[in-house]
Symmetry: C2
Subunit: 489 residues, 2 copies
Amino acid sequence: MVDSGSVTRVLQRLRSQLPEAALVTDRTRLRTYECDGLLHYRVVPALVVLARSADDVRTTVAACAAEGVPFVARGSGTGLSGGALPHADGVLIVTSQLRQIHEVAPHDQRAVVDPGVINLQVSQAARPHGYYFAPDPSSQQICSVGGNVAENSGGAHCLKYGFTSNHVLSVDLVTPQGDSVTLGTRAPDAPGYDLLGAVVGSEGTLGVATSVTVRLVRSPESVQTLLAGFRTTDDAGSAVSAVIGAGIVPAAIEMMDALAIEAAEAAVACNYPDEAGAVLVVELDGPAEEVEHEFAAVERMCREAGAFEQRVAADDDERAAIWRGRKSAFAAVGRISPDYIVQDGVIPRTALPEVLREMTRLADERGLRVANVFHAGDGNLHPLVLFDESAPGQGERAEELSGAILDLCLAHGGSITGEHGVGADKAKHMPKMFSDDDLDTMQLVRCAFDPDGIANPGKIYPTPRLCGERPGKHTGPHPVQAAGLGEVF
Amino acid sequence: MVDSGSVTRVLQRLRSQLPEAALVTDRTRLRTYECDGLLHYRVVPALVVLARSADDVRTTVAACAAEGVPFVARGSGTGLSGGALPHADGVLIVTSQLRQIHEVAPHDQRAVVDPGVINLQVSQAARPHGYYFAPDPSSQQICSVGGNVAENSGGAHCLKYGFTSNHVLSVDLVTPQGDSVTLGTRAPDAPGYDLLGAVVGSEGTLGVATSVTVRLVRSPESVQTLLAGFRTTDDAGSAVSAVIGAGIVPAAIEMMDALAIEAAEAAVACNYPDEAGAVLVVELDGPAEEVEHEFAAVERMCREAGAFEQRVAADDDERAAIWRGRKSAFAAVGRISPDYIVQDGVIPRTALPEVLREMTRLADERGLRVANVFHAGDGNLHPLVLFDESAPGQGERAEELSGAILDLCLAHGGSITGEHGVGADKAKHMPKMFSDDDLDTMQLVRCAFDPDGIANPGKIYPTPRLCGERPGKHTGPHPVQAAGLGEVF
């Protein structure tokens, strides 16, 4: 555990280097940072630093390193796995004021941005040149590029374009020891280890990004969007298999089940096909002739798989209307249930029908309902477990069901997270997916960057231990203590 | 330095666990392993182990770890940067007998193969199902998948399809401490650090791959190949810029200059356009309609950029004939020059005309000639420095020019290697590209995996040092000593 005197000493160091306005110490103001998008984990940080520059970040990390005080970086705070959950005895470094777009270089297909720049702003800056930034999490209007880098964010269009890790060329990183390094280059296949790859998705445990060079993707010549209504998720799943099996890679292919459709209708009146047991949203993009050719094939495959209604967006407004239902789905669930948990798991696409049936059985056993929204093309499920916190025992049953769904994904050869990260929420599930040797090997890298264990401790890994130990000997402090998360776990 | 008694003790350990036939100790036989494709670095290993299974690899590495003896893994030995150059006091682990294809699963778009499986055999096994393995180094008929993983191999078609790192889903790795771990998963965006990414391209310094799960790519519906002759490399470069600038991503876009064409003609009579100062080979693949549409645009752009002759391959034989000239180019240079150095560097595509002019000037100054063959689409140059070893001083001047070409690439914001790796050859150039802090950070990871520095020491990094040191204090043994490479550097 960190003694509270250490944070006081960090504060003293920072007072000589940063203006008072950059330091938040008031308990009431500190409380506004107590959670990110994962609302049921809350920890008030000991100190918040509102960084105004990369130098501020470096100064703060160096002070933490000197005093052995944990730090957590936070962008817009929209993460869904608690990656930016503060440490009770640590410093929260907020990067949302680092918001400058330094360069947009369309000919070199890149942009250089501060970590606090909003995801969508990158695309807006690139659009006049005919380019955009591909990763598109649902939160793209508010989430930060730094957060995207930390969580390796995905989105509906990642089936075709890949995750954030496929769109970051270089990162300036402040390491947990307070050094500034540049990882990655603008050349393909840079020599040396791909440390940039290890850092993207490391959820703040290897350092804090202070500058991000992203890859820009050319805006497609043509985009076509189809909404198809099916009687069952099995039928919709068959359509997905047919499309992918034909070698077509849609920009996005999204499925919603009946309950998710009901929620979206209640929230945004998206006017999806009546009586649909499932809908698919299929978007193709690329050269006009290719899109036209493949779109005809997709329509035929949907029809053959049992689609009883298909609508094609005639223009951008109609396209936006189709997407509105899908993009509102998470929040919309609040219209049909007082409380809900957003789960995130991955299964092989071919296991979809079986997993959905089994999920329904697990929910029925517990007297609960699960709405399903998913990136069908890559098997990334987002089950929404509905419950009522005020009904005795439902909260616990929902939490338990949510975990059982992850076990189900793993049993089918899948993963405990598709794009939301592990964070504070799923560290306990990591040993189900990885062997002790696998986790030990990851720990080697964490210790290499952060021998004192001060960079976002308690996230990702279930058993933080002292870095001097040899792998295989789990004798470190209990994770709950080590992470300073005793109050919430 | 390793005492020779250590290797003797490794041999004693292995004799109790491996058959005598797997152990090569005879000096004459050992000599056959003294170099890989980088012919001018030669070191005879102290012991060679011909592994027959993953267990043999693990047994060997464990014995090396127990005795503190360096080991180097070798697949087919085709690497061009000396990554598989043996260690004089170490063990060379040859994986070429691990040659089984364990699974070809087209529906899941993957294959599971031993590290010694030949690159092309993966595609041959997948072809009946309509799939192939995308990375295609020129040596694909003989190079191994394990070697591809170590060097993150590229190839002509990597412009569109990416390097090996984009096509490996999972690797079973024997770590330098003798543990077996599985890195990566079959799910997108697996949680935890992307250690698989760090291992692919780590040139054998983080362990030895014993099983590789590769991604299979669907064979394209249509392929079209164009050979275009230009007066100058500037004209050909303009065509490349026009194609890429139009948002077209060819499967390959390769350029050869006059001297490379002359060499290819001498070797394989490829019958390229007479009087051409440069040729482009442009290949498009994908859905037939898309290919047809874009191919017309490419032909037009080549014409507008000054192509005086264009030929379209009418069938696979004609396509093979066009590629024959390109693929033979490295070896063909032997027809026009007694000796040559294959260089490998990267520049931003937009700097091509200036870099080529400057390269000619550097060669002229030294009375030497440079033939150029390159992956024009991604700016990956392969200058071939021609010289005559028997002419006094020419060898040194060629070596010096070869280094000056890398400096030229770096001065234009490029990289010291595009796809051949750093290996033993370019470790000395790493500090030109990376700061001390950057190199220190890479070293953190090497030390995490390999605290005793026994996994392929002397490769990639210019200043190996004891892992107990804190970064920033370069007090380790001199690299030449540390690497046991005193005789060759």
